[in-house]
């Protein structure tokens, strides 16, 4: 999966970057008075036209999911396809809700994604900090190992993992999907890149000279400095965990303890699956995240950009 990018500064020293405060602004308008050839240029009509077009392309499949979910299967098989909402949305959603165990699935997914996000953020920050700022033996070897882990295809481990889970008698229990993704190599790498530049070494040294224990340093120096990146990592991990489906389908069952994606793939239960019902299920499973995007879109966008720029 694609994931956020930690940008290294080009040439300038990050701590002395005169432009840095401006980055914090994220999406807000820039107050700079000086003329800036690259950025203060106003967008022309074509710019807007292109952006609107892109927005339509971005939103259309989602809107159409809702349209399809509000129709009947028969209507979906007509030309031209429907462009506006029909009256079956709630009926289809209800079928999807009851048949796919969707209520339980949403609750479970919230728990699973929340736990994974929390675990990943905490452990990645700790490890990222160690790799970025501390000296210890085997550091480079271990770091290389972390990066290597990112390349392991997730399909690789399913069988042995399943046997492990079965030995532990965890099948159909949430920890079976939480623990295997509780830490992430990407997260460690991400936090390392961030802290490398966001956390001045002098600061740690100063705290150390003052006699602070390393736990104190973590709590009072590292966590505050890492907070923006932690927020981004948490968000990214949450979304990814919410949408993960390959492993949960094998580890969980629909009637027992499904996540949303498990419930979605099993939507045909008891039915000859109806496209409109499937769409309603897809909509139900996506809605919480969409809602979050509508409510906190600004913060999420700001967060991603903040996490991305370091330098």
């Amino acid at each position: 999966m694609t994931a956020p990018v930690v940008t290294r500064g080009t040439r300038q020293d990050p701590t002395r970057d005169p432009d840095a405060p401006d980055n914090r602004q994220g999406g807000k308008g820039r107050r700079h008075g000086r003329s800036r050839a690259g950025r203060t240029m106003h967008g022309g009509r074509i710019t807007y036209a292109v952006l609107i077009l892109i927005s339509v392309v971005s939103l259309f499949p989602l809107v159409w999911t809702a349209i399809a979910a509000s129709r009947t299967n028969t209507r979906l098989a007509e030309t031209p396809p429907p462009f506006w909402f029909g009256g079956n949305l709630f009926k289809n959603m209800e079928i999807a809700w009851t048949d796919a165990n969707m209520g339980m699935a949403l609750l479970n997914t919230t728990i699973v994604a929340g736990s994974i996000a929390a675990g990943t953020v905490v452990f990645s920050t700790l490890a990222g900090f160690a790799f970025a700022k501390l000296r210890f033996r085997l550091k480079n070897v271990l770091l290389l190992l972390v990066i290597g882990t990112m390349m392991v295809p997730p399909q690789l481990s399913v069988v042995p993992l399943y046997m492990l889970i079965a030995k532990l008698e965890w099948t159909d229990q949430l920890q079976a999907v939480i623990l295997p993704t509780f830490v992430s190599a990407f997260g460690v790498f991400f936090m390392r890149q961030y802290l490398l530049q966001a956390l001045p070494t002098e600061l740690i040294e100063a705290a150390r000279v003052d006699g602070a224990s390393s736990l104190r340093v973590i709590w009072h120096v590292v966590f505050p400095a890492a907070r923006p990146a932690m927020a981004v990592l948490g968000m990214l991990t949450f979304v990814q965990a919410w949408n993960d489906f390959f492993w949960p389908i094998i580890a969980l069952t629909q009637a027992g303890n499904p996540t949303v994606q498990v419930a979605l793939t099993g939507l045909g239960q008891g039915h000859i699956p109806d496209q409109s019902v499937i769409m309603a299920g897809a909509l139900l499973g996506t809605l919480p995240l969409l809602l979050a995007f509508v409510l906190f879109g600004k913060q999420i966008v700001g967060g991603i950009m903040q996490g991305a720029v370091k330098g």
Binding site: T10, R36, L134, T149, A207, G211, A212, L290, A308
Partner: protein, 343 residues
């Protein structure tokens, strides 16, 4: 950066204050001094132990989890790749040496899958990153509602592979799909998006592009905004046009970011699995295996044809290929930094 330093600074100060000033030199008396000395020794011993071992404690949770849920399966799969194992009885393994790997070498389905993976990887990654770059450039202008555009561009990212693919399957329907209907209005005959080689590969790629372009746009946009303004100013003074500024200022500054997105996208493309699986609804990846990727072929061998040993060998082959790609990328990156340093 400056602000962060400031916000972070007071906390350790407060935290560390008592031990730093606490038992100062005022304490009179030799006994007190000795006690003080012992305490200091103890503390410094503890301090040294702390400094020495705490890094391991920080990385330990990651590696513990990784060992249990990452390394063990990885090694186990490597071991399984040397055996004949069937999903009907995963516990009985018959050692066959490198047979599974040599078999792959002459397995045309494997090469076909590899080729598809590369093709789909290219037609999903290259346009995606180019579009993201262009879009980021546009969003970098001063705009009304720029935040709206950014959020909207990112929205597909919130959609799961499963949900997105289910919708696209309908949109790409041959007889009743929205896309063919739209093409029909401009006089283009129905296209068989599910069975044509190029059309199906394009359709699968388009799902990837749709989900990830906005995300990469934000990454590029962030990097663009970090470019110091003086660079543009001096370029403008030298009489560089907008396009020249883009070429000579923006692009070089974005090089590390672009490189990184390429790596991450390459890894994603190599592992592409959910989209083709759900697009075709089966592990075959189309009647002629047109969009059967390596991930899908692995799945077909292991979970449809039940050859776990062979699937394990494919998994390891994928792993090794990724390592190879990373190595090449690293070499290129080193070349680039060198040439940059020379310039």
């Amino acid at each position: 950066m400056a602000r962060e330093t400031k916000t972070a600074a007071p906390s350790p100060g407060e935290g560390a204050a008592p031990p730093a000033q606490g038992p100062g030199a005022q304490d009179p008396g030799a006994a007190g001094q000795r006690r003080e000395q012992r305490r200091r020794d103890r503390r410094s011993r503890r301090y040294r132990r702390d400094v020495k071992w705490s890094p391991y404690a920080y990385v330990a949770p990651f590696f513990l989890f990784f060992a249990a849920f990452g390394l063990f399966p990885l090694l186990y799969t490597g071991w399984a790749a040397l055996h004949r194992v069937s999903l009907t009885d995963p516990n009985s393994m018959e050692f066959v040496g490198l047979h599974n790997f040599t078999r792959l070498w002459s397995d045309e389905f494997f090469w076909n899958a590899l080729q598809n993976t590369v093709t789909i990887g290219l037609i999903s990654t290259v346009p995606q990153l180019l579009m993201a770059l262009g879009l980021a450039h546009l969003l970098n202008y001063k705009l009304r509602g720029s935040m709206f555009f950014r959020v909207v561009a990112l929205t597909p990212y919130a959609t799961s592979v499963a949900a997105a693919t289910l919708v696209f399957v309908l949109l790409y329907g041959r007889d009743y799909g929205m896309i063919n209907w739209a093409l029909g209005t401009v006089g283009i005959d129905n296209i068989d998006w599910h069975n044509g080689t190029w059309t199906s590969q394009f359709a699968v790629s388009s799902i990837v592009i749709w989900r990830w372009t906005g995300y990469n746009t934000l990454i590029y946009l962030a990097a663009m905004q970090a470019i110091p303004n003086d660079l543009y100013e001096s370029a403008a003074l030298d009489g560089a046009s907008r396009w020249q500024q883009f070429l000579h200022v923006t692009l070089p500054a974005l090089r590390p970011t672009i490189l990184f997105t390429c790596v991450v996208s390459t890894i994603g493309a190599m592992q592409l699995f959910g989209e083709p699986l759900l697009f075709g609804g089966s592990a075959t990846g189309g009647p002629e295996h047109e969009y059967q990727t390596l991930g899908l072929y692995l799945y077909e061998q292991g979970w449809v044809n039940l050859h776990l040993g062979r699937a394990s060998a494919i998994a390891w082959a994928m792993f090794l290929l990724l390592v190879l790609v990373a190595l090449v990328n690293w070499l290129i990156a080193r070349r680039l930094t060198k040439s940059e340093g020379g310039a």
